[in-house]
């Protein structure tokens, strides 16, 4: 291959191990980390405040009302869960496709998935009105003799998201076990030894164990790959199964899945570029990784753009007046600035990625990835709010304005996401150590 190597061939098994584990074990806690934790933890406090006020007063503190019954909450839910998808895609689909470049980014992409799903899961929960009764969503024998209504996409969503969260957690933890054993063996302090030792469950690298481990890992990847497609498909059915103009369309599942991968890769880049800079991990997360991720973003971005195009075309072609009215309102109505900003962020600006020089420039990629994150958030906002605020009858049209609690809750979950990531970077290996050793061994064999 003409591009740079995936890993510096001068590294050895020992130096790779020492370098990655030193971030967790020996390196002094950096000032950047403390500052980052301080800011993101302050935002978690904001989230706690917003949720507490919500629990006391109810969802009326948000800007929701009829006709716009879903606003920031569901927008944020879809946005977060979409971000999670890149982690599973990188760890599962790229594993099955033998894409070796996944090795140094899969661990933190999986962690990102987990934390994004945690943020996502919160929104439907606090949106249900009486969150303390959210367990009613699950089927369990109860004295009321009631059972959930399994024909509703909203209930499918409950199962899809909880399965996704569970499988992502299992996948991440299984991937961590050998590295936890490494940390156990390398930790100096008693507490760290015991903590990592308990989590590693006595892993000793036995050949027989590795054999079953690899089988389990590959099977999990094979299970996670269709799962990730199903999750965003089911999320899109929350909309597509209804009759609202702008929601009732069969293009939703594929274009939601593509959008999810698009926003997820954008988030991975947003996180990877500062991470490799601050922790000196450029030997591991190389320019070639960034280039590959940018290409995936470009490809999925084009699918998303195609989705917008076909959505508009189908509305024009089927001649439904309500759909047409909704589309014109989206492009020229009250929320038109948000719509055109979304097109700029998701369709226009990412075309810069065609240029190899842009893909080779980490800071350009960083800015573009943030632009795409914003664009994908706006996409969900536009889909949800413009469809609801302008349905069949002019008498039921209305506006949605977010309140400070809407914004506070959203910003708060960003804080939660970043706090969890900061803790993860500090206490667990951000790059899979054993897979990096394996990659090194394979590269050496190829070189020899």
């Amino acid at each position: 291959m003409a591009q740079g190597p995936l890993i510096d061939p001068n590294l050895t098994y020992a130096t790779v191990t020492d370098k990655i584990s030193s971030i967790t074990l020996t390196r002094k806690t950096s000032l950047y980390w403390l500052l980052g934790v301080f800011i993101s933890f302050a935002l978690v406090m904001l989230l706690m405040l917003c949720v507490t006020v919500l629990l006391i007063k109810g969802v009326g503190i948000w800007g929701l009302n009829i006709p716009v019954g879903w606003g920031f909450d569901i927008t944020n839910f879809v946005w977060w869960i979409g971000i999670g998808h890149a982690g599973t895609l990188i760890s599962a689909v790229l594993l099955l496709l033998h894409q070796k470049w996944r090795t140094s980014i899969n661990r933190f992409a999986e962690a990102m998935t987990l934390f994004a799903v945690a943020c996502a899961g919160m929104f439907p929960l606090i949106h249900v009105g009486r969150p303390w009764l959210a367990y009613w969503l699950f089927p369990y024998p109860n004295t009321m003799g009631l059972w959930p209504q399994f024909r509703s996409p909203l209930l499918w969503d409950v199962f899809a998201v909880s399965t996704y969260a569970t499988v992502s957690l299992l996948f991440w933890y299984v991937g961590l076990i050998p590295d936890l054993a490494t940390l156990r063996d390398r930790a100096e302090g008693k507490f760290a030894q015991v903590a990592y030792g308990v989590l590693a469950m006595g892993w000793r690298g036995s050949a027989r164990h590795w054999h079953r481990y690899e089988t389990a890992y590959t099977l999990l990847a094979g299970l996670a790959a269709p799962l990730v497609v199903s999750v965003h498909t089911i999320v899109s059915w929350d909309f597509a199964v209804s009759v609202i103009p702008g929601w009732h369309t069969t293009i939703f599942p594929p274009y939601f899945v593509a959008g999810a991968v698009y926003s997820g890769f954008a988030m991975v880049l947003t996180l990877a570029i500062p991470l490799r800079q601050l922790y000196g991990l450029k030997d591991y997360i190389t320019d070639r990784h960034l280039d590959n991720m940018a290409k995936v973003m470009l490809a999925t971005g084009l699918i998303v753009a195609y989705g917008y195009l076909v959505e508009g075309f189908m509305i024009w072609y089927n001649g439904n007046v309500y759909e047409m009215s909704m589309l014109l309102d989206r492009m020229t109505g009250a929320y038109a600035p948000a719509y055109w900003l979304l097109i700029t962020c998701n369709v226009v600006i990412p075309q810069l990625l065609w240029r190899p020089s842009v893909r080779a420039n980490p800071w350009m990629l960083f800015v573009i990835s943030i632009v795409i994150n914003i664009g994908m958030w706006l996409e969900r906002f536009i889909i949800i709010v413009t469809s609801l605020h302008h349905d069949f009858l002019p008498s039921s049209w209305g506006m949605f304005y977010p309140t400070r609690w809407d914004i506070g809750t959203y910003v708060g979950t960003i804080g939660l996401f970043l706090s969890l990531l900061f803790l993860f970077i500090r206490f667990l290996p951000v790059i899979s150590i054993f897979e990096t050793r394996e990659l090194l061994s394979e590269e050496k064999e190829e070189g020899a």
Binding site: P139, A160, L170, V174, G202, R204, E214, T215
Partner: protein
């Protein structure tokens, strides 16, 4: 012989994965069966070299997936057809296409759960302590060392001869592993 004085086995350390695979094969040819390799990353062919062939995990995962699918569908059928029948949108009680998404999710959930728990159970994890940890150099098995351990419960095992054999493989070192 007193059980507590027999070592768990003898362990040889190597510094390259290919050498370990070669030596494991030699040991197998010599007739040793109760042995294991310890490596910092999975090595292709090592388990075959050690004489390990069957792996039940895929079958278990398949059964788990089938169980999840049947259980998932049965749960919905029981709830919405038998226990609490509801007509939604004029569809029949057993409107099975609407039950497919959750059936699919339950299939994945059960299969993934079996994959992880089955892997741990078949590997006998968690095992917080194991005799191999008594070798001081063994902590390198999670860094850059490749180890071969021949256990004393192997009928061919003889402290002297096995040590001679392991030393003939030109390892970094040969260590005695404390008993349990």
């Amino acid at each position: 012989m007193n059980e507590s004085q027999t070592p768990y086995g003898l362990m040889a350390e190597f510094d390259e994965p290919e050498i370990l695979v070669k030596c494991a094969r030699l040991a197998y040819e010599k007739g040793y069966r109760k042995m294991d390799g310890f490596t910092p990353f999975p090595i292709e062919g090592l388990d075959e070299a050690l004489g390990e062939h069957k792996n039940w995990l895929p079958l278990l995962v398949l059964l788990g997936g089938i169980g999840g699918a049947l259980g998932g569908f049965a749960m919905q059928y029981f709830a919405n057809v038998i226990q609490y029948p509801l007509i939604i949108g004029g569809k029949p009680y057993n409107s099975w296409p609407a039950f497919i998404p959750i059936t699919f999710e339950m299939t994945i959930l059960a299969a993934a759960g079996v994959a992880v728990l089955g892997m741990l159970a078949l590997n006998g994890l968690p095992t917080p302590y194991h005799p191999v940890f008594s070798v001081p150099r063994f902590e390198l098995a999670s860094r850059q060392g490749f180890f071969l351990c021949i256990e004393s419960r192997d009928p061919q095992f003889d402290l002297k001869k096995t040590r001679q054999f392991l030393e003939s493989l030109k390892p970094v070192g040969v260590y005695e592993v404390d008993p349990w």
